[in-house]
């Protein structure tokens, strides 16, 4: 059995990973922690930061900084989850890719997993149900677990 966990760094995706680890432990399943980094997110965040702080002259520098921080942050989260998997005796691996979240998630999720686990919300918090969830949940062939 292979379980895919979609990790975007949010609290909910980490809670999702905990559920997936619990299942993988009982089923002796292989867990894949998967994350998609979208450069457009760094660009938008940097531009809005620059606009709000009236410092658009440094927007490109902001963007590079945000992009590097996004990569570092997700690697740290993955490392922490890997440590937990190791402590729990769960066979786990990490995949981090770049591109459009929707496309990459669908491509990976429909490549032979028995379960896909994801958080209900994204990094924007509980303002609304995650847009990625609405876009992909019906298009993934395997059962999808949504965690709050």
């Amino acid at each position: 059995m292979r379980i895919l966990v979609l990790v975007d760094g949010s609290k909910w995706s980490q809670k999702a990973a905990l559920h997936a680890i619990a299942i993988a432990k009982k089923k002796e399943a292989k867990l894949v922690l998967f994350s998609v980094l979208d450069r457009k997110e760094a660009k938008a965040l940097a531009f809005n930061m620059g606009l709000i702080s009236q410092d658009l002259a440094h927007v490109q520098r902001f963007e590079e900084k945000v992009w590097e921080d996004m990569k570092r942050s997700i690697r740290e989260i993955m490392t922490n989850l890997l440590v937990l998997c190791r402590d729990e005796g769960v066979n786990c691996s990490v995949k981090i890719t770049e591109g459009s979240a929707r496309e990459k998630v669908l491509e990976e999720a429909n490549s032979g997993y028995s379960l896909v686990v994801m958080g209900a919300y994204g990094r924007s918090g509980k303002t609304r149900i995650g847009s990625l969830l609405e876009e992909v949940v019906g298009r993934i062939e395997a059962p999808v677990m949504v965690v709050r």
Partner: protein, 180 residues
Amino acid sequence: MSIFRSLIDRKFRSIAGDRYDEIVKRYREFLLLPEEFVLPEVESILIPLDRFSGDFHGVLDVLEAYRGAKVRLVYLLDAQTFRLIEETLGEEEAQKLLQVERERGKRLVEALKESLEGFGLEVQAEERFGDKGDDVIEMASEYDLLVISRSFGSEVTKTSPISPVVLKVVQHVLVPVIVY
């Protein structure tokens, strides 16, 4: 687990510094605290079913992980639909349809019950009239996990691969949901 907890705790505390408590209070919604890094226990599961519910065999492998949990299978009949049928076609027709629905429900529930009990889950089954969306949302609050077919409530198509009832349920329930 202890290594992991201390690692997270140390990292977050070191970033937050002496404002740790203030930050935790204000940004609680975004933070998964060290004490929340525990593997969840699922002891009770709700599985609503209806005439549209799809093939459940794909989710059985996952449910096997919850050996020992208590499962409530509820075959839901839409109260409003039956009321409308009764009003338009008469009581006799409504009863005929109800009988067919009940037979269908019984077969589906029995098949799933047998499979789940084979995995060591304790299963309780029932039939219920009500509103498929609102009733599931209300019932789910009493369980650790909700398991629902993506076609619960209505048929799905290639362009609309998940039932609107399921979307509503997923948006509103507060417990984890497995959509199969």
